[in-house]
Amino acid sequence: MSAKHRIFITGATGFVGRHVVADAIARGHDVVALVRPASSASALAAAEATGRLSFARGDLASRDLAEMMQGCDAVLHLAAVKGGDFFSRFSGTVIGTESVLNAARTAGVDNLVAVSTFSVYDYRQRSANSVFDESFPVISDPRGRDEYAETKLYQDELYEEFGAEDGHHMVMLRPGMIYGRDQLWHPLLGGEFGPIDLRVGAKGRPPIIYVENTAEALVLAAEALLDPARQASVDGQVINLVDDDLPTQSEYAKKVEALEDVPSSIFVPLPIMKAAASTVAAINAKVFDGRMKVPSIALPDQVDARFKPFDFRNDKSKRLLGWTPRFDLDAALRRSAGSVDLVADRLAAS
């Protein structure tokens, strides 16, 4: 067990954040959770009952954010905006991160666990089924990419600037598609095309990771960053996070279908989807000068990002963090489909 630390967590009541809070407390740390003033923190009731959790009521733009961070050893920054138009995402993800990092500078919190995404990788740069690890190329020009990838790339720039400053230490985690309770059906299986739901591909093994496994890896990253003996090994590193034994799209879908209702959808083989997306892109470029708004699932770079098969690896996360996914797919799905309070369960297991 690592030494006890005080960790400031943004996005603490969110889908991932609540499990990160639980895991951090279960591993003996104190947590300061940033929770927006009008948001409910009921998901963290069991964590609050431990006496190890304190709430900082504010948002990423709060003027007193630095004050809230005082005395913390690290910031674990999870908050991001995943929906809306470009500016909503830019404001919530990029400007929000700028504000968090400025507060950390003011408060003298030198250690940052930065949460990025697989969406920043340029999936068109390598052939299908090639090895996909941290050496995979990142998108070089964010402009023209989908809003999520574009804003996360700008966020990564801010992370890297912070990490490069004197006295600062930063480790950047890139989780794959995170699934868990209420979020089992995910965009790497298919998506909406206007009023129609599509399933795209069946044999690919998408880079998925169960939410509680993600949480544990993030807390382990904070511990490594704050451990003088291990800090140098993770400082400045980018680490991808995916589970072991990744199922095919078809295997995963069948298991989820056995647990819950899933959208009724039309199956499209990946080569047909790629051909359709390329055709739409060519028409858009030649006839409409690129002005046509195309559903994201029909954008060539999105088709590759979501459905192109690769050999996803998690060796680096295991080596540097000492992490092994605690829950395999079946256990993860059982926990997701159950009704037990997973935050309380994690705390009880510690």
């Binding site: 003033p37 948002d59 733009a61 138009d85 990029v94 409409f288 708004k293």
Partner: protein, 372 residues
């Protein structure tokens, strides 16, 4: 920088040359202005300023601006713009517009430019004294549909205009609404009309321009907060106004609701010879008036013609949506006309009296006597 003479832009601008343009505020509305400033031959984007360094930097990168700034004074000094777009929240406009005018730059300011007519008058007078132009964004006046209605008015097809009805339905209290977030209070809530102030300028300039700029006589305005709570000052407006009986006795109705669906922004102009209706969110144009076939057949022909046009509008709107030709398309036309005028050292298409008229009508709607 000293203006060369009244009505002309600063000495540094060569007649016909592109205008050195700068932007203050890289928020959501800047995404409507910046594509024009990047793409137009009439503009040379010399700077974007925002309090957030990353916002200024990324906006400058995305829109090929010469530089990003976090300090307005530094940008005005370093970039020496001929025109500055002020795109910040309304409560910041007064001081920023003032700074830009002092720096010898024309200003294109987002609406609502200022909270009151008196404040608008002060800055419009200052601009005039300096020989500069201060323009408020009246974008919907330059939408295809409003221009079509204006043509009908100008060529007499509607006869003498007697009534103008401007109506907006918008789900400002919905979960997805940027106005309803209790965690991130939108600064527009601090304007005298609260959130409705964000739209009131549109209502006012459309009402004024389509009714022939009457001197408004009695104004009656019912401002309500039907949804309650502390966040919204008002979420509903129902207002009636009547023009000067001796001059232009036009009747106007302004209506805002967040309790009806679907969202719309409809404008109806009724005259002695006919009426025209459009919806700026879902564009179409319905015109009722005398048709070939005489009084007996006119209603039938009106329905057949308008029904056909409505079906065509449905298809056209689908294409426009795909091509991202949205309700804000009038802004590009307004900016192009403004820049064309300023390049030629002429007056822009939105005049000080039109800006003042819109601000004064909003004042009248909010005045205690209007609420009796």
């Amino acid at each position: 920088m000293t203006p060369s003479s009244r009505g002309q832009i600063p000495d540094s601008h060569e007649l016909g040359a592109p205008l050195r343009a700068a932007v203050i505020g890289a928020g959501a509305i800047s995404l409507e202005h910046l594509p024009f400033l990047r793409d137009s031959d009439r503009a040379d984007l010399v700077g974007i300023c925002d309090l957030s360094p990353v916002s200024a930097k990324i906006a400058a990168r995305r829109f090929d601006a010469a530089a990003g700034y976090t300090d307005v004074a530094e940008m005005l000094s370093s970039a020496s713009p001929h025109i500055v777009h002020v795109l910040t929240p309304p409560h910041t406009h007064a001081s920023l517009v003032d700074m830009c005018l002092d720096a010898g730059a024309h200003v294109f300011c987002e609406k609502p430019m200022l909270p009151t007519g008196a404040e608008a008058q002060t800055l419009l007078a200052k601009a005039d004294a300096l020989g500069l132009h201060l323009v408020e964004n009246h974008n919907y006046r330059f939408n295809d549909e409003i221009l079509a209605v204006r043509d009908l008015i100008d060529n007499g097809q509607l006869g003498t205009i007697a009534e103008v009805d401007v109506r907006m339905a918008l789900q400002i209290r919905g979960e997805e609404s940027r106005f309803a977030d209790q965690n991130a209070r939108n600064p527009i809530h601090d304007m005298p009309a609260g959130v409705i102030h964000d739209f009131a300028t549109h209502f006012a300039y459309l009402m004024n321009t389509l009714s022939g700029h009457p001197v408004w006589g009695p104004v009656s305005a019912h401002w309500n907060n039907h949804g309650g709570g502390d966040l919204f000052t008002y979420d509903d407006l129902d207002a009636l106004m009547i023009g000067d009986a001796e001059g232009n006795p036009v009747h106007g109705r302004l209506r805002f609701s967040c309790r009806t669906s679907p969202d719309l922004f409809s404008v109806t102009v009724r005259g002695s010879e006919g009426q025209a209706t459009t919806d700026l969110f879902h564009p179409h144009l319905e015109v009722l008036g005398p048709r070939p076939g005489g009084a007996q057949l006119t209603p039938i022909v009106n329905h057949l013609v308008n029904g056909t046009k409505l079906a065509g509008a449905g298809l056209r709107n689908f294409g426009q949506k795909l091509l991202q030709h949205g309700p804000y398309h009038g802004l590009v036309r307004l900016l192009d006309q403004t820049y064309t005028a300023l390049q030629a050292h002429e007056a822009p298409p939105v005049t000080p009296s039109e800006i003042q008229g819109a601000a004064d009508l909003i004042d009248a709607l909010l005045a205690p006597e209007a609420r009796r």
